[in-house]
């Protein structure tokens, strides 16, 4: 494991160095695509760190992205960006703590729908606030260059992968997995489920907050309907699950797959692009249910297939 960890680490460092040099090699458009890729990696890895490991499927991560964007926009030309973007991340994390406290008491579909509802709630609260402030869309002129944004986003993507890897191998990851499997049993072996879930939820909001800040600098225009769009949440979940949602490789592959696929499709077949994407999503869930990384969802090592796979836990409803 440790040797493998070292090797993985080396590959990661090399890949990061290569990626960091991309602005030298790529044209503006390709660099923009690369930025998108980094964005989805950062978002999906962060999501997987909480939802993949704990089984609490958050359909509200757009809210952290949006809040980070909003903080950055509010502080535009008030505070330097190296300060306001991380502050956006911290605000998102603080919001996650605040929301997580009540939300994480409900499980399963309730949690899924609650997170979606809360993210819509905050979206409309921001719309009302902006309306009350008399701000009708905010334009940011003079944002950092694409290269700067790309390097920053690359850093976030790498950071998010590192965080997921560290959490997975740390006590916190073990706790989350136990909670995913059986929360009552987890408490019975000493896991403070509330604290574990809350801290992981806050951590998984931090990077998306910063991603939102960077992306608003990229798009130069802030409008709450867009910044808090539920599509972002859905896409994060899609990317993470396409890849296989509780390993570092999963969201990475999922992001690569989605970004490359959309690049391939949307210029060639713009009108059927979304249709193909939808069909692929369905096909993946049905035929590659464990995601692109396969059955790599195990905790310490890949399991040897057991001699029997009798299962007493669940009842199959099919005749």
């Amino acid at each position: 494991m440790t040797r493998q960890g070292w090797q993985t680490g080396l590959v990661l460092v090399a890949a990061t160095a290569l990626a960091a040099a991309l602005p030298l090699a790529l044209g503006t458009y390709s660099l923009g695509v690369a930025l998108d890729l980094m964005m989805w990696i950062a978002l999906a890895e962060s999501w997987a760190m909480f939802s993949g490991l704990s089984g609490y499927v958050s359909l509200g991560h757009a809210v952290f992205y949006g809040v980070g964007a909003y903080v950055t926009v509010l502080l535009w030309q008030v505070l330097p960006l190296w300060f306001s973007v991380p502050l956006g991340g911290l605000t998102a994390a603080a919001l996650a703590l605040l929301l997580g406290w009540p939300c994480l008491r409900v499980r399963g579909p309730y949690f899924v729908i609650l997170t979606l509802g809360i993210s819509e709630f905050i979206k409309y609260a921001v719309i009302s606030t902006e309306a009350a402030l008399g701000r009708n869309g905010r334009l940011l002129i003079g944002t950092p260059s694409l290269t700067v944004l790309f390097e920053a986003m690359l850093a976030l993507a790498v950071l998010s992968m590192a965080v997921l890897q560290i959490v997975r191998s740390a006590r916190l990851g073990a706790g989350l997995l136990a909670i995913r499997e059986d929360e009552v049993a987890a408490e019975a072996v000493g896991i403070n489920a509330t604290a574990v879930k809350l801290s992981a939820f806050a951590m998984s909001a931090f990077i998306p907050g910063m991603v939102g800040g960077l992306m608003i600098l990229r798009s130069t225009y802030f409008e709450p309907m867009q910044a808090f769009s539920p599509t972002t949440s859905f896409t994060i979940v899609t990317v993470a699950i396409l890849g296989g949602s509780d390993t570092v490789a999963g969201p990475l592959l999922g992001s690569l797959f989605l970004v490359l696929l959309s690049e391939l499709l949307w210029t060639r077949a713009p009108e059927v692009y979304m249709i193909i994407l939808g069909v692929l999503l369905v096909a993946f869930v049905l035929f590659v249910p464990e995601g692109l990384v396969g059955r790599a969802g195990r905790f310490l090592r890949a399991p040897k297939p057991g001699p029997s796979s009798r299962d007493h836990r669940a009842v199959v409803i099919e005749p």
């Binding site: 390709s30 309306a131 009708n136 990229r218 225009y221 009108e271």
Partner: protein, 391 residues
Amino acid sequence: MRLALAFAAALFAAGATPAAAAPPVKIGYAISMTGPFAPAARTQLNAYRLWADQLAAQGGLDVGGVKRPVKFIVYDDQSDFAKAPQLYEKLITDDKVDLLLAPWGTPFHFAIVGVLEKYQFPVVGNSAASVTIRDIKPGNIWFTTSEIPDRMAAELVKFMKKENVKTVAVNTLQLPFSLEVKKFLMPDMASAGLKVVVNDDYAPDVKDMTATLTKIKAAAPDAVLSLSYPPDSIIFIKEARQLDIKSPFQLVLVGPTDYLFTKMFGANLDGIVTMGHWVPNQPKWPKAKAFYNAYMKKYGEPPDYLDSALAWMSIEVLQQAVKTAGLDKAKIRHAISTETFDTIDGPVKFKGVENVITPTMFLQFQKGRPQIVWPGSDATARFEPKPEWTK
């Protein structure tokens, strides 16, 4: 598909002309073809496609006196403001287009201003108007509309004063354009002595307006201003009719000019005032009827008097600028900024981002057709108080 045929036709037609040797002029735009804004963007997109057909039929675009074939590069922004700047950046840097057409809607125009400034790429905007954009003084975007919110607010107040409006109810959608209109309208109305009796805002996903309209009905103001977008404009008209709001002056900001409204509401649209400064039957504008007929022929229904017309105006401005200035960005920018253009809406000349010739106008539906009713100098008909809703 239709578009692909248009390209093919364009290329084929070009092949028949002596200018075949010239490489095609690449014209790009991104617009909402899918997603929630796609329905609203259709009438603008239709105008763009009509132009593609005409260019193909004419054998290309006149570039500084040389006719050159055209090739359109069109993307779908999926109703995502964040995609628009990326797509325009792609069109500029990757596809290396020669000319750009504007996206649909105020937010999308907002979204691409940064990119246009960065690459110093001139675009004639159309279905957008914003004081906020004017205030940052960009050098590469202009608006063919004369409905910039502060001008429109001032004119609307004058218009209402003339029609003896004393009390006003305002119902505003919380999106940038409508809020900006309201922002300028309120102080103007206050200083003109108009009394606001109902003042409500609503969020974009409204499904029912009974509460506000019941208040309006009870207050019985002289004017009702529905600062709305098409989906909620429909709700407003339906429910205003249902509650029988009798105010003689009823304005619905965005939507009624789309033919959909005529199909849905027929005679009930009569009396509704809306923003817009184009009608096909204004004798001062000889090109207007031709555009109307061409659009009618291609799509089987009238153009949107607002978005289709604005889009067409932006095309005309660009086309005329390119005719004299060629494809050089600086020259195009200079041409757009200084020349006077002959459009379906009469002459257009810009100062800063604004169209300074076309006055701010208002349309009113009368006997099923929109007429210009304000200002008097351009009117095609006189304002009439809103007739009774049909039973």
